[in-house]
Symmetry: C2
């Protein structure tokens, strides 16, 4: 029997009320589960507005220890109820440190662990270095009941190293929760196609399906462009959302077929790790 997996990406706008935001994700998760989705990806930091637009200490109050985070305590039971895997993006506090983190909940409600965003952006409208300490967990893959998945967080999606590392750890699908939109200081720059091309590149170079979920909405003039998608292991779009639609998109992949494709291409046979020293800081 084919080892198929149905994936879904969620897309919505989020506001100041964390409870309402969680309810939005719950509603869409139920819809996607009804459609047969087994792994359901909400956007990055759906707990609130994308607060990194500015540098304001008030937002530190919305960070919680990861196991007690309201997003986790509310949605882990939902994962169990629906029998779906949920990679949940959260703003995490650990003692005096704050991280942009992700908790993966398995289809039986078990919390599989924590990943902390490795690559932290910084620039007008995306002032993440003010809030988040760079992640110290290293890249993570999660052995869920429906397959081994790798999850990066937003900015991680631009780094081929992150995708490759998760693949070398055995990931069968890559997921990227995201919050990306317009550039306040450069209104003519639309990054949507670059955003898609970078991850499509990971799909092709690693022969792996890639799913990305982005928010929508106008947050004080910063317009998030949605465009959530899933590409197959050749980079073809198999789910594709508009820039402003709320809802979910789902697609089914055959993990055994992808595995055969990957072996057939031979990229992992032909890698030359002994020549890659530059990538880890060597010369």
């Amino acid at each position: 029997m084919a080892r198929t997996l149905r994936l879904a990406v969620l897309q919505a706008a989020f506001g100041d009320d964390m409870t309402a935001n969680i309810a939005t994700v719950e509603k869409l998760t139920r819809e996607a589960a009804k459609d047969g989705a087994q792994v359901i990806l909400p956007p990055e930091l759906f707990q609130g507005p994308y607060f990194c637009k500015t540098e304001d200490t008030v937002h530190f109050q919305t960070a919680y220890p990861w196991k007690d985070h309201p997003v986790v305590t509310a949605l882990a039971p939902l994962a169990k109820e629906l029998g779906v895997v949920l990679p949940l993006s959260i703003f995490e506090r650990d003692g005096q440190e704050y991280y942009n983190s992700l908790v993966t909940v398995d289809a039986d409600g078990e919390i599989l662990g924590l990943y902390r965003k490795s690559h932290i952006p910084d620039g007008p409208g995306y002032e993440e270095k003010f809030y988040f300490r760079p992640g110290d967990t290293g890249f993570k893959v999660w052995d869920t009941k429906v397959g081994r998945i790798g999850v990066g967080i937003c900015w991680d999606q631009w780094f081929p190293e992150a995708a490759r590392a998760m693949m070398l750890m055995g990931a069968e699908v890559l997921f990227y929760p995201t919050a990306i939109g317009s550039e306040p200081e450069n209104p003519s720059l639309d990054t949507q196609s670059r955003w898609r091309r970078a991850m499509t590149g990971h799909a092709v170079s690693n022969v792996v399906p890639v799913a990305a979920a982005n928010r929508i909405g106008d947050e004080d003039g910063q317009i998030f462009y949605g465009s959530s998608f899933i590409v197959d292991d050749g980079g073809d779009f198999i789910a594709d959302m508009a820039r402003d639609a709320e809802g979910f998109a789902a697609a089914t992949v055959d993990l055994d077929e992808v595995d055969e494709h990957r072996a057939s291409w031979g990229f992992f046979r032909d890698r030359r790790p002994e020549l890659y020293g530059r990538l880890t800081g060597g010369r």
Copy 2:
């Protein structure tokens, strides 16, 4: 004054007569130079047919020591005459070893050095592991009179590590001579879009223009699909050839503008080499 660079990719069919093949490249190089091109990229192994379709010892006779290779001795003077940089793909013999190699000739005719293809494919129609020892030079960038360029060879183009390594060495443009076409044992598989997507991914993830030159023609049923292209540092096509056209395509990039874009994106600021140990064989 803007530090602009005009690039060209050459596209043609090649047959058994090495002298005729060199003449074809010379003709197209002159045309591209007349159009203002400063770096002109011919396809991979244009010295003859793509002989790796089969495993046949007769082809070893077409390898030469790199400085004495007929392609190099014929075209280095042309580079000088026209004042153009030529990255030249050759079948190299070094004592008992054979390599899929590249010699870069500067715009004054100086031979800058040798790169040996790091990643060697193998499969139906592309039996390169029979002929070529995996390259031992490591990745190379070339300080030419018109900018620092990185050149990979064909299969190298599928590996994000190769692109990243050349970027970390200061490459300002990436070039990939190629020989790719139909799959003899899988006629329904058309790799053209994957081929472009992988390199477009490198362009976006490294904020760098990428140029690829491929051959055309039907070689005993193996159809090479041309489609040579240049993308800018955001992955937009700025030169784009058909699947069957002979000729060249050229585009101009502003290296200072690209440099500013790259710094602005911050990918090289935010890399985490200490987390990339997996890529070099660590755990």
